[in-house]
Symmetry: D2
Subunit: 317 residues, 4 copies
Amino acid sequence: MPGTPPTRFVYLGPEGTFAEQALNSLPAAERGSRTPARSVPEALESVRAGEADAALVPLENSIGGAVGVTLDELAEGEPLVITREVILPVEFVLAARPGTALPHVRSVAAHPQASTQCRGWLRTHLPDAVVVDVLSNGAAAAGAAAGEYDAAICAPIGAGRHRLDVLADKIADHPDAVTRFALVSRPGPPPPPTGDDVTSLAVYIAHDRVGALLSVLMELAVRGVNMSRIESRPTGEALGRYVFFLDCAGHVADVRLGEALQGLRRVCADVRFLGSYPRQRFPGAGDRPIPAPAGLSDADYADAAAWLARLRAGDLN
Amino acid sequence: MPGTPPTRFVYLGPEGTFAEQALNSLPAAERGSRTPARSVPEALESVRAGEADAALVPLENSIGGAVGVTLDELAEGEPLVITREVILPVEFVLAARPGTALPHVRSVAAHPQASTQCRGWLRTHLPDAVVVDVLSNGAAAAGAAAGEYDAAICAPIGAGRHRLDVLADKIADHPDAVTRFALVSRPGPPPPPTGDDVTSLAVYIAHDRVGALLSVLMELAVRGVNMSRIESRPTGEALGRYVFFLDCAGHVADVRLGEALQGLRRVCADVRFLGSYPRQRFPGAGDRPIPAPAGLSDADYADAAAWLARLRAGDLN
Amino acid sequence: MPGTPPTRFVYLGPEGTFAEQALNSLPAAERGSRTPARSVPEALESVRAGEADAALVPLENSIGGAVGVTLDELAEGEPLVITREVILPVEFVLAARPGTALPHVRSVAAHPQASTQCRGWLRTHLPDAVVVDVLSNGAAAAGAAAGEYDAAICAPIGAGRHRLDVLADKIADHPDAVTRFALVSRPGPPPPPTGDDVTSLAVYIAHDRVGALLSVLMELAVRGVNMSRIESRPTGEALGRYVFFLDCAGHVADVRLGEALQGLRRVCADVRFLGSYPRQRFPGAGDRPIPAPAGLSDADYADAAAWLARLRAGDLN
Amino acid sequence: MPGTPPTRFVYLGPEGTFAEQALNSLPAAERGSRTPARSVPEALESVRAGEADAALVPLENSIGGAVGVTLDELAEGEPLVITREVILPVEFVLAARPGTALPHVRSVAAHPQASTQCRGWLRTHLPDAVVVDVLSNGAAAAGAAAGEYDAAICAPIGAGRHRLDVLADKIADHPDAVTRFALVSRPGPPPPPTGDDVTSLAVYIAHDRVGALLSVLMELAVRGVNMSRIESRPTGEALGRYVFFLDCAGHVADVRLGEALQGLRRVCADVRFLGSYPRQRFPGAGDRPIPAPAGLSDADYADAAAWLARLRAGDLN
């Protein structure tokens, strides 16, 4: 029911990965049920089908980029909206069964993206170990626990869940790497504006790339709406046909953003609204609110609206 | 009183010029008083002071360009608004006292702008005549009537008023030349939209010319608002400081134009509204309404507003 | 002959006006012949015909705006180029025959633009005097000298030439008003770049005003070329068809301006080059050179050209 | 040695995947050595180290989007250039050991991206089969050949190499899906222009997303350079910092593109040139050359350059 806080949560599984860790950081989730899903489509499908109230899925990673499957699932099918973002530092650990010493590690299980992010550390500390690709961080930890590999690259939560010892922590080459997750629900009134919000959109544009994308950016620029993110994804029709995923500063309830959204609706082939929600400021990420440019503050908007109302009434003083 | 039709008219004199002819074309003026003013500032001052209800003054000429003094007077002082435009073909005649034959014309009185517009005709038909500069078309006719000059270049109305014979008509080199006049009143609610209206503005921009003027044009372009005219005038402060006079297609009551006006208000140093009024289509001027670009019709605006209202209510279907 | 300094000068007459005063400020003119012309077209025609080497004509006035006839004459007919600008403070004086005292002045001869610029002074000091319109500042001085009027508003040079006493000087309401003149010659290689130059252009654009003018400004903005002036003039074809006169910072020999000029040539219906010449900085006019925006300095241009050359040669380091 | 055709090729392995199939379509590769690499970084590293002359790696897939690891590897480290693109239809087959009939298939090995692309077919034809994730299309075929799974989703070349029977071909849900590969070499002079070329770039922009990306697009739009692709990737520094990968129509040797490249160099934080190479037109992909906009053809460029040369020489006729 719209307005009712969610109590049944799903997240991208398996257990013991970053998605579970991110979900646990939400107070509401602590009091609800938390079920792992086999894939992002499965997680979102259970929300669409009403079997869950909200799904926590990854949106992007500061190293690996957008999580394409999440974007594609949000852009197609029954509409869903993001009501919350969770930004989590990526903290990889090297974990092994109790009693294993680092010099004895000969094989390391890792999801390819994880081993890529720890390449420097592996070269230095385990130059001779064989890295074996597995399908998730959770599978890596499980494999190490089962004795299939000497060690695993995984999330701290994965080490704990599989009763592994942490041989080394913070082994990622970029210590500031983060993953951004979205809490996704069925449509309903968005959370109220906080003054520091994000609005996510999927924007479809016509063929001529430069001109059409210029138009999109102008609709935003003219209203002083800043983008914190733009991702392009092929639409699945042919090479060279794209949908753009935009994160804009502001809330759908803001005058400024409302005007820009109407502009996008008019000039784009299609626009799908993916939610307005509070921006999570992440300490140390260097991501601070950007003040509105001159003439584009909320006060300027209010002044201009009042002026227009006077003009229309014939009052020019 | 706002809403009351004007009954006391002034116009740029003297009598017998194009301005009087333009005023006479207005049905309302036929029933009111019509007083010549010595200058545009004097005409507008009498409206500001409440001594007249409306003033008919020239705005621009298709040959000579903007009438600077009118623009300057509208841009400064107590606000006034244009409620009507009158476009008049420029039809110069060569007029002389009865009995004068063309071959005997040795001197021609003319306002410099009038003789400039008839240069080709004079070269062909009166190559040896001396052209004497006078201060108005009316003064030229008066001088010819008084016998100071053999003939005058003047408006048809001037020939009639001074009982001169027309030796040749339509002597202007550009047969399609027109003058555009404005009927100016004290502020009040604008005439209702007709679907083919003009909105006139005086727009002040900051120093960096390219960037600031680009911003103005983008505010219009993004809303699909077309300009039929742009004139720059120095502000009287220093060379290189300008006010721009814009005529935009549309009415202040239109959603599209209202949004653009608010944008201009925000990005410009100052914007003065000079009126919304029906466009006078002039047969043969090649000036037809331009349809709104794709995505910028009134229906597109209504659709986008309805969509935004649904989004804000949480209805995404 | 191109390259030969001009020796035969014409200027907009009559004698004793600001144009003569401006011409006298040029060292080269002191050694040459100086002939007044009856009108701007006549002055420019004598250069086109080879009867004079250069003409000094007014371009714009900080109060009255562009001098339309000069712009029109430059934009049409055989090409001419501006090789020099002269900026002159507008210093009006009230002059009268020796022996006249201010309290006895009952009639003042003045060109309408001159009396407009001195309106405030006249209201304060001669509230009861009759102002009589005449056709030039020189004619005003001549009329006062002939005893037709008690006094004249004219240029200092006009008072001297007609042996009038100056009853009051600097009587213009805007003490910083200036007039800008151009020295115009037949085409030839432009004067060498000085690092602080102006390039004047007449640019014809197609019908859709907003889009076409946006294109023009983008060609300039993308190359960091600033405009110090933009004037629109009707083309004489119909209302709503314009030519724009632009003054751009830079010299036709500059890489940056050359690239922008080529861009204008491609996107405009027509572009007429009106000359590159040193900017005259006028003390107190608040008009200082504007530094190139980030990334658009000459050094940035040179760096980018060298980089492109390396790319084309296959050198990517 | 620059200019020498490559003879030692690497490709993204394992054997029997689309990359090998794409490499085999190049005549030059048939005569050279062809070695599979374990990963894209390994393939490119062997080119950088001089152990191979060229690497064939995937750039993007019309369903799955950009191949992030390839873009990242091209954007960082020692420069490499694309000299050729290969576009291959994605034709998945269901393959099994000889003698297996479709109704008996209970388990299907597939790379997750492959099973995603065949979801519809699987739902219809094998609703009860278990899909097992494996790490590559080649591994799926190998697993089926080894009897670990009843069948595999793989490329036609993979079925052949592992002596599997094709139970069903063209099972992908999007029959027009294609993958685009790049042939990558050490820097050298680019292949000569063909008139239908692509230039790939990695463009780094500063923080303010809307304004900076607008600048990039304007540099292209003003020169009439069209984009066929834009991808954003995080730079690995923090969320919200991006590098954009652009494919532009044209060749670095073209005047138009050269001017745009210089503009990007000036306004962007950094630009990395990734190669100019012939565009491969793919039948049925609906991807035809887009003619240059009015005023931006090569002839227009040549005309403008000649005009500027005349202006600089003082020739205005």
